[in-house]
Amino acid sequence: MELTLERIEQRVGANVHLYPLDLTLIPRAVTVLLGATQAGKTTLMRVMAGLDKPSKGRVLTDGVDVTGKPVRERNVAMVYQQFINYPSMTVADNIASPLKLRKEKNIDARVAELAIKLHIDAFLRRLPAELSGGQQQRVALARALAKNAPLMLLDEPLVNLDYKLREELRDELSQLFAIGESTVVYATTEPTEALLLGGYTAVMDAGELLQYGPTAEVFHRPKSIRVARAFSDPPMNLIEAKATQSDVMLNGSLSLALSLPALQSDMLTVGVRAGALRVDRRENDLALAGKVELAEISGSDTFVHVHTQVGELVAQLTGVHVFSLGEAITLYLNPAQVYVFGADGNLVVAPERK
């Protein structure tokens, strides 16, 4: 299904929840709505679903205006953060409920098939409350999939699960989305989750839609500092800089050899992704000496927070590295891997991709 939002706005009293936006979802693909809490993701999803009517603008499905049409009359499946199931119904009846409502045939077979896909086939006779959180959310997902709706909206569906469960379920969901026919919208606050889901990403911030495109492209070519900030975890390192005739100066003393297009202003912001900072030196690298503030270890990566002459920087190193607080460290950076943003916050230069 093709869902189009035309000049959608949402105001509640004097508060603007959504600034005017246009968006046409890529049909039968996953669109990730990425943004911090309060960015407007849930508000936008509620408009998409028909749970709320926008203050202005139109919602079109396959070209037909459905703006005022309530959710009951639309064919939409939703999954929320909280594990929402019918508490008095068994798992099987929960999954079967949308099918029964439509008086479909072969309900048992369909329920069994979905339960196997989501690894809950052993619990079909149980009540939701007898299951773990992860299993309860699987039931909610199975029910949403049973609906087989052309539009499926998921609002941070994995946020209340342990991270290992999240990893597993995210993998399975991507596979289900890939083979399904639905247009899927998936809201998350986590940049890494967006990258793992792939598809397309719409970056939102403070009620505005900032950028929409293929996920990897939005990540590698953020239109503005705001997009880069929203789509980086750890946050992109941002350093104030000044353009000179031949290079870019950081902090008045460090020179980055970069050629820039003609600019209106020489005030710049240089953006460095944490992964672009290394501890091993290569030729033509810029060296940034500093002191370790903290090394955060995630298991697969170590995030080293370093106090340097150009400010606080975070470097992402693969694997586990141990640093003591206050330890001296030098970070190395290939000038070809930096982003440059103009005085207006818009992208001027992005690293070239292979």
């Binding site: 773990s132 959180g133 342990d162 991270y163 290992k164 469960l165 990893e167 606050t189 940049p191 890494t192 990258l195 793992l196 792939g198 996920t215 990897a216 990540f219 590698h220 946050p235 992704r273 944490a274 992964g275 672009a276 503030e293 903290l294 090394a295 955060e296 270890i297 995630s298 298991g299 697969s300 995030f303 927070h305 992402q316 693969t318 694997g319 586990v320 141990v322 607080l325 991709r353 292979k354």
Partner: protein, 361 residues
């Protein structure tokens, strides 16, 4: 402060028969005086039960707890002199920040000038000194939680400070700063700290020693590096890292180690015998290899994901129906695409071997 020795088990029922009857299987463990420990595992693994046994909120069904050699099994948290910090702020809203921080000291009859000095120190460490005279009621959740942390840390004479997921209410962007604070505080105050969490970043960042738990069992106690490089148990390999370690069924015989019928390693004394074992290798250590390289396996790529700073490749051994291998590849190299057959190096100095889930080499 105290050295804490545990030798105990905790069962759900009077006469436990099977492993499932235990919240905590029999264990023997020591927390050294002044150490920073984390108890890490998924929900239901027993980590909170273990913490509650240390604090004295739960009495183990077998065995006991010793503080500096003295049996404290029957004693309350107060008698054990334990400070605790919970998930949600526990403070007095009507008191000022300073009064809240002073409360545990005042309760114990500490002299006024000493209280002032200690409250000042803790407030400075937690960057609360600007708010000392403010009423706690008006503060944001994370400021309130900082006060709770401060209350936990303010007494010098505690046996240990126990934390139960203390950063749950903290905004993600502020978490790293509080993790750093906790680490600094540990270095300065040299208190024995035990920290329960299901979040691997928190555990690995905070603790000198992490106790990884699953199903009532502590499967490894070690540093972040040890858990990453040499997981003692397949659960640790799986749980630490995202994605976790790859595991491949392997066969050992006189001629060496084979996977899916392909010999990948010479015979090795540590892996002797005619035996089925499991080879473990982390996605970070799987590399692309030239065809027919010894130590590599052919695999069909089923997924290639651009995760921004690296590529995550999912491949299945052989024609795509064999065991799953994930590789994390640097974007500077040529990234294979879906359906391509690649050779993946899985044998190297970082490769681990397991028998019955336990590390053997």
């Amino acid at each position: 402060m105290a050295r804490i020795d545990l030798e105990l088990a905790h069962a759900y029922k009077p006469h436990p028969q099977r492993d499932e009857d235990y919240a905590l299987l029999p264990l023997k463990m020591t927390f050294n005086d002044g150490g920073a420990y984390a108890l890490l595992g998924p929900s239901g693994c027993g980590k909170t039960t273990l913490l509650n046994i240390v604090s004295g909120l739960v009495k183990p069904s077998q065995g006991g707890v010793k503080f500096d050699g003295a049996d404290v099994t029957g004693r309350t948290p107060q008698q054990r002199n334990i400070a605790q910090v919970f998930q949600f702020p526990v403070i007095y809203d009507t008191m000022t920040v300073a009064e809240n921080l002073a409360f545990p000291l005042r309760n114990r009859g500490v002299a006024a000038d000493k209280i002032k000095q200690r409250v000042g120190k803790i407030a400075e460490m937690l960057e609360l000194n600007g708010q000392l005279n403010m009423r706690s009621a008006g503060l944001a959740a994370d400021a309130k939680q900082k006060i709770s942390l401060g209350r936990g840390l303010v007494r010098e004479d505690v046996s240990a400070v126990l934390f139960d997921e203390p950063l749950t209410v903290i905004d993600p962007h502020l978490k790293w700063q509080l993790r750093r604070k906790l680490k600094q505080i540990h270095q300065e105050l040299k208190l024995t700290l035990i920290y329960v969490t299901h979040d691997q970043v928190e555990a690995l960042t905070f603790a000198e020693q992490v106790v990884v738990m699953t199903r009532g069992r502590a499967v490894q106690i070690g540093s972040a590096s040890a858990l990453f490089e040499k997981p003692q148990h397949t659960f640790v390999g799986h749980f630490i890292g995202s994605p976790g370690m790859n595991f491949l069924a392997a066969q050992v015989n006189a001629s060496g180690v084979s996977i899916a019928g392909k010999r990948v390693m010479e015979a090795n004394l540590k892996l002797n015998g005619d035996d089925a074992i499991t080879l473990g290798v982390r996605p970070e250590y799987v590399t692309l290899a030239a065809p027919e390289t010894f130590g590599a396996l052919p695999a069909t790529v089923t997924q290639a994901q651009d995760i921004g700073t690296y590529w995550l490749i999912t491949a299945h051994v052989g024609n795509g129906d064999g065991a799953l291998i994930r590789a994390r590849l640097n974007p500077e190299q040529n990234i294979p695409h879906v359906d391509e057959v690649v050779w993946l190096n899985i044998v190297g100095q970082h490769t681990c071997f397991y028998r019955n889930e336990e590390l053997i080499a």
